[in-house]
Amino acid sequence: MAISTSLNRLPRRDWSPAAARHLLWRVGFGGSPAEVAAVWDAGLDRAVEGLLGSEDNIAGTGPDVDPDVIRPLSTDERRAARAARQSGDEDALREFRSRRIQSRREDRAMHIRLQSWWLQRMIQTPRPLEEKLALLWHGHFATRHRNVRDAYLMYQQNQMMRTYGAKSFADLARGVVRDPAMLKFLNNDRNNARKPNENMARELMELFTLGEGQYRERDIREGARSLTGYHVNDNDFSFRRRAHDGSSKTIFGQTGPFDGDDFVDIILARKRCARFVAFKLYRYFVLDIDEEEDRWPPASKRVIDQMGDRIFRDRYQLQPLLKDLFRSRHFYDSAVVGKKIKSPAELLAGTIRAMNTPHRDPRMLREAMRRMGQQLFDPPSVAGWDGGSSWINTATLFARQNLCLYLITGKGSRRGGSRHGDEDYDPMVLLGVGDRHPTSVANHLVDVYLGSHVPAARRVPLLDFMTRSGQTVTTDTLVSLLVLICAMPEYQLC
């Protein structure tokens, strides 16, 4: 059967538990059997509304952050430091140095708390799409703590992406050129009229809005001048008029005394930008397709074209498009379901959510993220994570399988975990009221955790294991079955 290439709505008869499962994994971080059933029960429209717009937020779960973890010296302190340097007062200089070292240490500790906090949010939030989009934009407008070296700025940026992420790409792009973490990361705090720094202008067009080859070097030079004076004052954006080049610029054929905000609007007015955003959304939510357009499958290309048109027409409002996409026939096509490689965050949060695994050591979870190649707030570069098949290689595959083992059993970690790590885990609740025959249980859990599209032949090792394990399904057998399900290559996909 030909694949659906339009954003036309999925026929009502095709809305199934399998489709509900697909929606939960792709738009959120998976769900338990009960959640899958509830989403199915709600029907497609209400399910999508729920993931997009549920009002209840996680109360009282803000991270422990200190806005002053890194702060500029006060005038008095600067004066004292200068005096100490001039008089060679070694004690005073040592004191300044140890204070600096101390604040760096506190900053790293805060960075670690922030990583755990975000992972917890992904695991617990009733509005998973919000976190999923924040993660998309974090990898898109990629900023690294290890360069910015101010965890509070990273937190501010994260909140900005959470606020605008599902609303408007235009607001996001406008926010990013005034975002202190980004301005620091791309050295725009050193972009002055007298000596323009092109870093921000280049990345803005190449990585954030248009893609390579969609602009000329001249547009970068002029764009960089428009961004001069976009600096940072402690935790805030600061427009330094004296550092700004107020003279005329010509960007994409338009001439005027543009500033950075104008520069962004000039970019947004290009249809190419909407299409670029469509591609990024498609690759994040639908299929792991290549960067290069001439390698896109024709079906994907047609869908991306429509998405781009839609985004442009909606003036970069994202909700209308996302609603259509998540209800489209294309999104539920058999060539899409179960064909995308889970990111480490999806694998981790998804396993915990879908299997209701008990609380595990946050240090271990962070370490697993590092081994799997996705450190939150520390993407490898401004280009973000490669994603797709690059998540999986011989080393990360073991890391992924062993993480799942640890989540379910508490075992398999270097720290050893507790000897009876799975005692606090009761997977029986996952079975509901269904048939408890061992092979029925195995088939049911394969449907839930690997997808009903997995053919019978590939289920055989699991079914044989259950048959050998006895007549009744014990907690112990069930834990082992879940461990094996997570070792199935299909578990890496969603």
Binding site: L287, D290, V382, T394, Q401, A457, L484, P489
Partner: protein, 423 residues
């Protein structure tokens, strides 16, 4: 036809390591044969001549934290050195003279390195750095890892170099000892393997219940079927490759060394590497690291301990390679993300600086002191001026040793250093 067309174009299919040559023996026919299984057979038939290019190995030793180059390769003939470092300078009579004409000596803890230099096995390259040096550990390490002074795009010089070789065995092309792989080793297509202990490079399910292993093996070694779409087949294929790679690595390191390795982090890592080289894994690059060089305070004893560990580990490593008949296959590069400032600080330590020495080891290096020591009377903002861009050394190693295209890996042409003698 959608199933065939949508997920991967042919080119990507090849890149993803899914290009397969059929006629499998142990692997399921539809997965065909893994590159590893093929390499095994080649070796059994003696197809890889020792010393031929695919057998050449590069080992990279990262000295993390910013090694104090000036107290490592010491200008004992420069009074300026003693003036800048009254509390931490190494006395001329204690240092190991390496070049009387230039007045350059090695730190006394580097006796083993000194010995390797006189044996023609080690080269000390002076004044290595890059323009507009960055004094942040992370930022400067990124520069060294990516070979790009702007910090790159998430891929490193080794990974991008290995990407150039279409015939490479992707699953073990680069092995890093450590909990996660360094940026340097990340290619767009070739991804490194990283583990601290070989035992960690496997599925840990036996800890739950040993009987699960046979089911796991059935899934990951024999699983899958011919109806799989490209993405699913890719994961099954990687799962199989992972088992084979794990078997080979664990088997390799199970063989004890011929030479006695000392304790210490670097020795332990190099012992693993020597075992894997001896087992003739299809690995082209090994990556190890020794940390602790960030000597801001009371650096004398710390620095001495680290240098001793470094030199002794290198000597033992090459003794072991010699004893097992693999020495000619292995060139080693040792670097640090920056040197330290010329002047000592108020805490009898040194702060982050710029240029520093790099070390090369192996039969083919031009032994002894290479390049010129950065002059102490021509500092740039209190830092040593670099005389050789580190990327020239990378280019030499990529082009002439590994025979990988350095221009593609580094994004531009760097002049040749002639630090290797491959005539």
């Amino acid at each position: 036809m959608f199933h065939e067309g949508i997920a991967f174009t042919r080119r990507e299919f090849l890149y993803s390591g899914m290009a397969m040559i059929s006629t499998a023996t142990s692997a399921p026919a539809f997965l065909a044969r893994s590159g590893l299984a093929m390499a095994d057979q080649n070796m059994a038939h003696g197809l890889d001549r020792p010393g031929s290019v695919p057998e050449r190995v590069l080992v990279v030793v990262q000295l993390s934290g910013g090694n104090d180059g000036l107290n490592t390769v010491i200008p004992v003939g420069s009074p300026g050195y003693y003036r800048a470092r009254p509390r931490i300078a190494i006395a001329e009579k204690e240092a190991l003279l390496i070049d009387p004409n230039q007045g350059i000596a090695l730190h006394p803890a580097l006796a083993d390195l000194h010995e390797m230099v006189s044996e023609g096995l080690a080269s000390v390259v002076q004044g290595v750095g890059y323009p507009n040096p960055n004094r942040s550990h992370f930022a400067s390490m990124d520069v060294w890892h990516t070979g790009d002074t702007r910090g790159g795009r998430g891929h490193g010089w080794i990974g991008k170099g290995l990407d150039q070789d279409r015939n490479i065995d992707r699953s073990l092309a680069c092995v890093c000892i450590g909990s996660d792989a360094p940026l340097a080793a990340q290619g767009r297509h070739v991804k490194p393997v990283a583990f601290e202990r070989a035992e960690a490079f496997r599925w840990a399910g036996r800890q739950r219940q040993p009987e699960l292993v046979s089911v796991y093996d059935r899934i990951c070694r024999e699983g899958g079927d011919s109806d799989m779409d490209a993405v699913t087949r890719f994961v099954y294929r990687t799962a199989l490759d992972a088992q084979v790679a794990s078997d080979r690595v664990r088997k390799a390191v199970a063989t004890g060394p011929v030479t006695r390795f000392a304790g210490g982090a670097l020795s332990r890592q190099l012992q693993l590497v020597a075992a894997m080289i001896r087992a003739e894994l299809p690995t082209r690059v090994y990556y190890v690291a020794l940390g602790g060089f960030d000597t801001h305070a009371q650096q004398v004893s710390t620095h001495q301990r680290l240098l001793r560990e470094f030199a002794s580990a290198m000597k033992t490593f090459y003794r072991e390679l010699e004893a097992t008949g693999h020495r000619s296959r292995v060139v080693t590069l040792a670097f640090s993300e920056f040197g330290r400032r010329v002047a000592q600080n108020a805490s009898a330590g040194t702060d982050h600086g710029a240029a520093g020495p790099v070390f090369l080891f192996g039969d083919v290096v031009r032994p002894g002191l290479q390049g010129e020591h950065p002059p102490l009377d021509q500092l740039v903002g209190g830092d040593l001026r670099f005389g050789l861009d580190f990327r020239c050394i990378y280019a030499e190693l990529l082009d002439n040793w590994l025979q990988l295209d350095s221009t593609a890996a580094l994004g531009r042409v760097f002049r040749k250093t002639r630090l290797l003698d491959l005539s």
